[in-house]
């Protein structure tokens, strides 16, 4: 919210055109979008595991792109969340917690899905790129909120475990147009890997909760 | 640069330096004129290897050797700026050594009369390590050291 005010006042103050980017309702915007999409198709080439179909947006990506970094209106947000909630595959065994030590390794590495990556090597989640987790790791990013003491602050109960699982599986189900990848939905992580990451957040023995 | 550190060199480390260099032959006065590359000196692989050959005396710690424009942390170990200035009279040579590199000796500069006893260059560091500035002045060896932390990090880009 605060960010939008800043951007708005800045744009007004400086009068720089286009800084307040992506006025979704501006006339001609749909044509520009269509043209941009067509332009992308001729401006990229497939490489390694990254084929051109990665430029085909699903409804969530399309909608979120339209609102250009700003929160979508309530009805659009609700639609996105509902759509994504339906994609979550809950663990068949009803267990959400794996091994937090494996989870820490997954949180530390960002390998996976780049055309330069070996597709045979399991992907990481690179949680530390955006979040603070275990306090020993000083090199953490701030794009997402701090997750230090995630379980300790919220309680270790099954409901919170399930929420954490769902959030890692598909963050768009809880927060439309979140910056966070949909790790389960997009098959970046396996079910076991997600459980391991959930354990990093939720296991009382995890350094995150120390 | 305020970090004119003169950390006390570990006895072992200092002696090692000397042995390494003595074994390599560039402690001889004639070496100053030589433009041959001293393979033995640059080949020493580990601290342990040189430790085994301990025997000579350690170079004296000197407050007259300063690290100039040399940061405490290197954002990338591939390029670590190192500047060394010696205020010791009759400085003949300056060497830069990185304790934890696969080869300790990184560079050796012969300083003829008329040239300032100060050089700047850039070296690679595999990890956080002590860096030694070893100076030969009036036939004797002196040393100063400084720890440089190496971070490899963020987006490789």
């Amino acid at each position: 919210m605060q960010r939008r005010h800043l951007m708005l006042s800045l744009a007004v103050l400086t009068g720089v055109a286009g800084i307040l980017a992506g006025c979704a309702t501006a006339p001609g915007d749909a044509e520009v979008s269509a043209k941009a999409t067509a332009m992308l198709k001729t401006s990229f080439k497939e490489s390694g595991q990254a084929k051109l179909d990665r430029l085909d947006q699903d409804e969530t990506q399309k909608t979120c792109s339209l609102y250009a970094g700003k929160a979508p209106p309530k009805d659009a947000a609700e639609r996105i969340e509902k759509l994504n909630l339906a994609t979550i595959q809950w663990p068949a065994d009803g267990k959400y917690l794996g091994d937090w030590k494996s989870g820490e390794k997954i949180a530390q590495t960002g390998q996976g899905m780049q055309y330069s990556d070996d597709p045979k090597v399991p992907s990481g989640a690179n949680c530390y790129a955006c979040h603070q987790l275990a306090p020993a790791e000083l090199s953490y990013g701030t794009i997402g909120p701090s997750l230090y003491q995630f379980g300790k602050a919220r309680g270790y109960g099954l409901e919170i475990q399930k929420y954490a699982y769902g959030k890692v599986f598909n963050a768009e189900a809880y927060n439309a147009c979140s910056n966070m990848p949909r790790f389960g939905h997009s098959r970046i992580l396996t079910e076991q890997q997600i459980k391991d990451v959930v354990a990093l957040l939720m296991d009382p023995a995890s350094p995150v909760n120390k | 640069m305020k970090s004119r550190r003169r950390d006390v060199l570990k006895t072992g480390g200092g002696a090692t330096l000397l042995v390494l260099l003595a074994a390599a032959g560039w402690l001889k006065p004639s070496a100053a004129q030589a433009q041959a590359w001293n393979k033995a000196a640059f080949d020493t692989k580990t601290m342990d290897e040189t430790m085994k050959a301990l025997g000579g005396g350690a170079p004296a710690q000197s407050k007259d050797i300063a690290f100039v424009s040399t940061p405490d942390i290197a954002e990338n170990g591939a390029v670590v700026p190192i500047g060394v200035a010696s205020a010791l009279p009759k400085t003949e040579s300056i060497a830069i050594l990185v304790e934890k590199n696969p080869n300790m000796l990184a560079a050796l500069f012969e300083i003829p009369p008329g040239t300032d006893a100060a050089i700047s260059t850039r070296v690679k560091m595999g990890q956080t390590s002590n860096v030694y500035a070893l100076v030969k002045a009036d036939g004797k060896y002196y040393v100063a050291s400084k720890e440089i932390k190496v971070t490899l990090g963020g987006c490789g880009g």
Binding site: - | N103, A107, P112, A118, I119, T121
Partner: protein, 103 residues
């Protein structure tokens, strides 16, 4: 053949400051290529700087000197318009000499 160096020689008072950038891979001999094969060491071994035929600096380098090496030093006795010459030789025997005019 190796690409030229970039040499700057600047006179301030009676002191000539020489700054040199060299084009060189400075391969350590520690790295592996995509097939896991060691990439052989390839680095500058000796550097000599002269002014009016007199050596003003000589150096021996190992592979721990950074890629595209930088070197700076100062000597006395230079005058504007005179030349400073720098030569390097690497472990493959490749050699490069360039010069700059003191300004």
């Amino acid at each position: 053949m190796a690409d030229p160096m970039k040499i700057r020689a600047t006179l301030t008072g009676d002191s000539t400051e020489v700054k040199v950038l060299m084009n060189h891979e400075m391969e350590t001999g520690q790295r592996k290529d995509g097939q896991g094969k060691i990439i052989p060491a390839w680095h500058i071994q000796t550097v000599t700087a002269t002014h009016n035929g007199r050596t003003v600096l000589s150096a021996q380098w190992g592979p721990a000197v950074s890629k595209n090496p930088f070197l700076a030093f100062k000597f006395k006795g230079g005058a504007k318009g005179e030349k400073v010459q720098v030569t390097w030789v690497d472990n493959k025997g490749d050699k490069r000499t360039d010069e700059a005019t003191i300004g």
